[in-house]
């Protein structure tokens, strides 16, 4: 099956700033593809290029078999878009919003009247058809925006941060909706800052930084390939001393020297000194990273770290399996990007 969206060597510059820098991406039909990246990584610009709203400085976009931007209007007829900010029409009711949006796709009132009940059902807004947009909650608006993206029964749905600003209940409802769409064989392309969301929903993930795809794979592959399987987060009184090498349990293996963490600064610890994991009693950690008052130990053998921590009652810790967020932070660093 041909790829619903294929980006090749895509480049977009604004003055001297290269926002998208030779980006390659190929979606597989019927799957959910996540685009992750820090703020300013080029995600939204990539989506705008993919929709043919802006022209690339170099590279090609083929959307649903159509070459963009020349054939953008034809291609967009089969795409649904959920924008980052809700832009529902506040002058209309829920039903009218869907009906009017259908008009932009050339769908007649009659056709839309046929489609609206199913769309309202999908959005969980069946009882709200005559409600004004201003009376809807944030979650309802988001669901309506998703339903609106489906008025043309698209093959590809592009979602720019679909759950930002929603409470967990609302977020779960959106997730259910997206899963149902995948069940119907639609291809999804979504950007998100929630790694949990990406891990749950996406079959494939591309991590973007500085306008380029830096890694790509399924969530599981990324976690297996790019990070130690366990994380011990350590915090509390005495962390500095422990990290600096307070002699610990007798008989513990001699710590080996570790490479210092990537050198990207921890955010706002205000001391400027605590970012270097020393190599003494923390030697059981495969790799350590200090962020503010917390030390992250990425390790293959968490038992030893945990055992050692037992001798330090002042220290508290959380032992958990590594997740996509750990991969993301490792690959893109802990610096703020705003």
């Amino acid at each position: 099956m041909i790829s619903p969206l294929k980006l090749t060597g895509l480049t977009k510059r604004y003055g001297d700033t290269v926002v998208v820098d030779g980006l390659d991406l190929e979606l597989k039909a019927g799957r959910c593809h996540g685009l992750l990246g820090p703020n300013g990584a080029g995600k939204t610009t990539t989506l705008r290029l993919a929709l043919g709203l802006i022209a690339a400085d170099a590279g090609t976009v083929v959307l649903l078999g159509q070459r963009l931007p020349e054939r953008a209007e034809v291609a967009r007829a089969r795409v649904g878009v959920v924008p980052q900010m809700d832009n529902l029409d506040p002058d209309f009711t829920v039903r009218e919003n869907l009906q009017i949006y259908g008009r932009y796709f050339g769908l007649s009132k009659r056709e839309m009247i046929g489609r609206i009940p199913a769309l309202l059902d999908f959005a969980g807004l069946a009882g709200k058809s005559e409600a004004l947009i201003t009376t809807l909650s944030g979650g309802m608006k988001r669901r309506l925006t998703l339903a609106r993206a489906l008025v043309n029964d698209p093959d590809l749905v592009i979602l720019d941060e679909p759950t930002t600003g929603l409470d967990p209940q609302a977020r779960h409802l959106i997730w259910q909706g997206l899963r149902r769409l995948m069940g119907q064989g639609k291809t999804l392309l979504l950007t998100t800052h929630f790694m949990e969301e990406a891990e749950r929903l996406c079959d494939d993930i591309s991590v973007i930084d500085q306008g380029r795809v830096i890694v790509q794979g399924s969530p599981r592959e990324l976690i297996q390939t790019h990070i130690e399987p366990h994380v011990v987060e350590i915090y509390g009184d005495g962390l500095d001393e422990w990290q600096a090498g307070g002699r610990s349990i007798p008989g513990a293996p001699r710590p080996t020297t570790l490479p210092s963490p990537s050198g990207r600064g921890g955010e706002g610890d205000g001391q400027g000194s605590a970012n270097h994991a020393s190599s003494l009693s923390v030697g059981h950690c495969g790799r350590c990273e200090r962020a503010g008052e917390t030390l992250f130990c990425y390790t293959r053998s968490p038992e030893k770290v945990v055992a050692e921590l037992a001798a330090h009652p002042g220290l508290r810790y959380l032992h958990r399996p590594a997740n996509l967020e750990d991969v993301f932070l490792k690959l893109t660093g802990r610096d703020l990007r705003d």
């Binding site: 709203l53 209007e73 967009r76 007829a77 878009v81 924008p83 029409d89 209309f92 009017i100 008009r103």
Partner: protein, 253 residues
């Protein structure tokens, strides 16, 4: 313009307007009525005749053009700006098969349609008050209203495209709209102006609209119809094209 892709955009605005049609139409009438009654009777009481006709008759054509200009301007400034900048309605539409050109043509024709309605409302008042000489000739005012609406809607879209916020519109009103109201022959014949100012007034689009409308109300066929019509269309198209280019730079970059 060649295709009808703009129509859903026009229709969207029409459906919103329909919800508030009555207050909107009354609003369209209130302002010009006050001008006509206040100035017509107030000044008219002192002047009696201007260019050989009662002042209220003279004023009617000016008020008509001025109202059409206002209606087109307000729609493309405040209302279009809300849709573009605040509600992001245009961005929502751009994610569909429609293009920015479709959106702006729809907005342009919508604003012209709305100003046509407000012009028709004034014509109704003119008929009711009997402020015309030849009824058949008043029907020729309709194309004049359309041209005037297209002219000021196009110009409005140009201003809208470069406005950072609502406050910016005040410059346009102070520097472009008010001078036209005061110099464009709305309240007095342009011949009353010193020659250098009359020459300047000839460059204002509203002057050309008034030059078409006033003779029609006074029962005469206007002179240089083609020239006046061309000037109005030229301003409108230039405004529209500039607006399209600048809005593209603003939204699609």
């Amino acid at each position: 313009m060649i295709n009808l892709n703009w129509f859903p955009v026009w229709q969207r605005n029409f459906l919103v307007w329909k919800k508030l049609a009555m207050p909107s139409l009354l609003g369209n009438l209130a302002d010009p009525m006050l001008y006509m009654l206040g100035l017509g009777y107030g000044l008219g009481g002192l002047l009696h005749q201007v260019n050989g006709v009662p002042y209220l008759h003279f004023l009617a054509a000016g008020t008509l053009c001025y109202s059409v200009m206002n209606s087109a301007t307000f729609e493309t400034l405040y209302s279009a700006f809300s849709r573009m900048h605040v509600q992001k309605t245009w961005e929502a539409i751009l994610n569909t098969p429609l293009t920015l050109r479709d959106v702006l043509v729809g907005e342009w024709l919508w604003a012209a349609s709305k100003s046509l309605l407000s012009g028709l409302a004034i014509i109704l008042v003119i008929w009711t008050l009997g402020l015309y000489t030849n009824f058949a000739m008043t029907l020729a005012l309709v194309p004049v209203i359309v041209l005037t609406g297209l002219c000021f809607s196009g110009l409005g879209l140009a201003v809208n495209a470069v406005s950072p916020n609502y406050d910016f519109f005040l410059y346009y009103f102070t520097l472009c709209i008010t001078p036209q109201v005061l110099l464009g022959g709305v309240f007095y014949p342009p011949t009353a102006l010193p020659p250098w100012l009359a020459v300047a007034a000839d460059w204002l689009p509203l002057t050309h609209a008034v030059n078409l409308a006033r003779p029609l109300l006074l029962g005469r066929w206007p002179e240089a119809v083609a020239l006046h019509a061309l000037v109005l269309l030229a301003y409108g198209f230039a405004g529209f094209l500039f607006g399209l280019r600048q809005t593209g730079r603003r939204l699609l970059r």
